[in-house]
């Protein structure tokens, strides 16, 4: 498969404007601004079938078309670079190695949306990446791709990077906007959606880093060309962050539709399970998606090979399937305690709950507490049912999806690995050391 985002990743100096431009960089800006109307750009994105790469998978072109064009307020494009979903590090990799593809995508996308000001909201811990982006933006200004009358056209755009300060919840788009306005990252009630009332109550589109980067090849080669890659409604390429017990952790650009088995065992990708061990389980799309045992991640319940697409990974619903999510692919070998791993997730969600909705604020704390005692030899027989019950009561009962994200991993881990939880509840010994790394 030909890479389209990471095509020039190994080119020395690709992080500089000079080399990036030599390799055909900023062509999408020239093409869009000089030969296309803004709506024509949106049309190509619609045709491409590109779906939001932050995790939700919502069609990007459709999201763009919701922007309120009748409003007299200025429009904004905001890039969500708050990458914080455990197991996900693709945006950091892309921004660090090829910062200009994001800057270019921001310009082309802002033009399509009619935004005169755009922001990249990056998580505060990525401060060194922020520095890289600011340098790239300075270079783009100097070359006339940002600022007043870009390439001599009527179109002007200012682009800024804005640091967060440590809060997973700011990856939720309305929390991100609150944060960008200098407030606590509490998600907003919707509607109104950001396309109507987003940043400063103005029409706003929020897109993930990878989504915006994908606009570059889509505009360059056409939406139809992009849609040729992949299967059905899973078009194009996807950056997968592979981590855990594999021989070759890292970021891989795959064509949608790659068999999961090939992704895990091929030397081109994960290179198999480390230390010659066996595969036990995979969290395929970042911490929020249901964990699957080895047999169900390699094949669907119907016995078909599982593919890296939105649809195939979701085959079987939550009973036997999962989600592509952000593409945070966490692999666990046969020695892993599922209970102990789930404890790290529960602790995470409790820490990251913004505290606005009681089911999430209280429930995540209770789940952490119960899993803590299960992991430390103080488990009780009834703990498994209580955990399941709490998860069910958080799900669907909160303003934003963090509640669901906290509940799903718990429900799935119990569903597929119940005996491990039962053992933890009965064996009164700490289980942390069950993991030999």
């Amino acid at each position: 498969m030909k890479k389209i985002l990471l095509e020039h990743i190994d080119e020395p100096g690709i992080n500089t404007f000079e080399v990036y431009r030599k390799k055909g960089g900023y062509a999408s800006v020239e093409k869009a601004l000089k030969t296309m109307t803004p709506d024509a750009v949106t049309e190509e994105v619609k045709k491409s079938g590109l779906r939001g790469r932050g995790g939700a998978g919502f069609p990007a072109g459709m999201k763009w078309s919701f922007i309120d064009k009748k409003s007299e307020k200025p429009r904004y494009l905001v890039c969500n670079a708050d990458e914080s979903e455990p197991g996900t590090f693709k945006d950091r990799y892309l921004m660090e190695k090829i910062p200009h593809i994001l800057v270019e995508g921001m310009i082309t996308s802002s033009y399509a949306l009619g935004a005169k000001t755009a922001f990249i909201y990056i998580r505060g811990e990525y401060m060194y990446v922020l520095r890289i982006l600011e340098k790239a933006i300075d270079e783009a200004y100097a070359a006339g791709f940002l600022g007043k009358n870009i390439l001599g056209t009527d179109y002007s755009l200012d682009l800024y990077v804005h640091p967060g300060a440590g809060a997973y919840i700011c990856g939720e788009e309305t929390a991100l906007l609150e944060s960008l306005e200098g407030k606590r990252g509490n998600p907003r009630l919707k509607p109104p959606f950001p396309a109507i009332a987003g940043l400063y109550s103005s029409p706003t589109v929020v897109n993930n880093v990878e989504t915006i980067a994908a606009v570059v090849p889509i505009v360059n080669n056409g939406g139809d060309e992009y849609a040729k890659i992949g299967i059905g409604k899973s078009t194009g390429t996807k950056l997968i962050s592979a981590s855990g017990h594999i021989n070759r952790p890292g970021v891989y650009e795959i064509g949608m539709g790659l068999p999961v088995e090939e992704f895990i065992y091929s030397d081109e990708y994960c290179g198999g399970i480390w230390k010659g061990r066996k595969l036990k389980a995979v969290v395929a799309g970042g911490s929020s998606v249901p964990i699957l045992p080895a047999d169900l991640i390699l094949k669907t319940a119907k016995g078909e090979p599982r593919l890296m697409t939105y649809e195939s990974l979701a085959d079987g619903g939550f009973l036997t399937g999962t989600m592509l999510g952000s593409g945070g692919f966490i692999v666990m070998d046969e020695t892993t305690s599922i209970v102990r791993n789930l404890y790290t997730f529960a602790r995470f969600y409790h820490h990251e709950s913004c505290g606005q909705c009681s089911p999430c604020r209280e429930g995540t704390g209770w789940m952490e507490k119960i899993l803590h005692r299960l992991c430390h030899g103080h488990g009780r027989k009834e703990d498994i049912d209580i955990l399941f019950d709490i998860a069910k009561k958080i799900e669907g009962n909160t303003i934003c999806p963090l509640g669901d994200a906290a509940a799903w991993p718990v429900a799935a881990a119990i569903r597929h690995f119940r005996s491990e939880f039962e053992e933890a509840a009965l064996v009164h010994a700490p289980i942390g050391e069950l993991v030999a790394h």
Partner: protein, 179 residues
């Protein structure tokens, strides 16, 4: 509006940055500059935000001090009490845990004779455990100042701690917030 009390004032260099940061946001929306300014304030004032520093930031943005406190207490990167010259933050979430983060944490605890959340007696090191920092493919990892240290082993950690004995990482955000 708070009164600027005592000697709390940004350096001229930082004040120039404040001006540039505020200019990014539309008129009347200067509160948007709060998060970057708090990062800058931590760099300027020993790596943490005292109530006096937060009042000073409020005055720079013409907002109420409570608007700063409620934000500073929400985000995990803002330290509301003093920290050591080297703030070591070790990730402990799934991917890092799977590859031995617990061993790294207990090794540092032993070596520095402190527990996670504490500062060494000489004020040099503060150890914190943190949630996923997006370095899962190079786990286990820690952050110190603005820098990531990845694929850690206990030997690598020993080297780093020896190297940092004499350094002060608290101002490392200053140059990065606005280049």
């Amino acid at each position: 509006m708070s009164e600027v009390t005592g000697t709390i004032k940004f350096s001229d260099e930082a004040l120039a940055q404040v001006k540039r940061i505020i200019a990014r946001y539309p008129e009347g929306k200067q509160k948007s500059a709060l998060l970057p300014l708090l990062h800058l304030a931590q760099s300027e004032f020993d790596g943490w935000l005292s109530p006096e520093v937060m009042d000073y930031v409020a005055s720079l943005l013409s907002i109420k001090p409570i608007e700063v406190y409620e934000v500073a207490s929400f985000y995990s990167m803002y330290n509301l009490k003093p920290v050591g010259k080297c703030l070591i933050e070790v990730c402990r979430t799934s991917s890092c845990w799977l590859r031995g983060a617990d061993d790294i944490i207990s090794h540092i605890e032993k070596k520095l004779n402190i527990e996670a959340g504490e500062t060494s007696a000489d004020g040099m090191f503060t150890l914190k455990t943190v949630e996923c920092l997006g370095s899962c493919g190079t786990a286990p990892m820690l952050q110190c100042g603005a820098d990531f240290f990845e694929n850690l082993t206990t030997e690598k950690v020993d080297e780093l701690l020896d190297k940092w004995k004499e350094s002060d990482k608290r101002s490392s955000y200053l140059k990065s917030v606005n280049s």
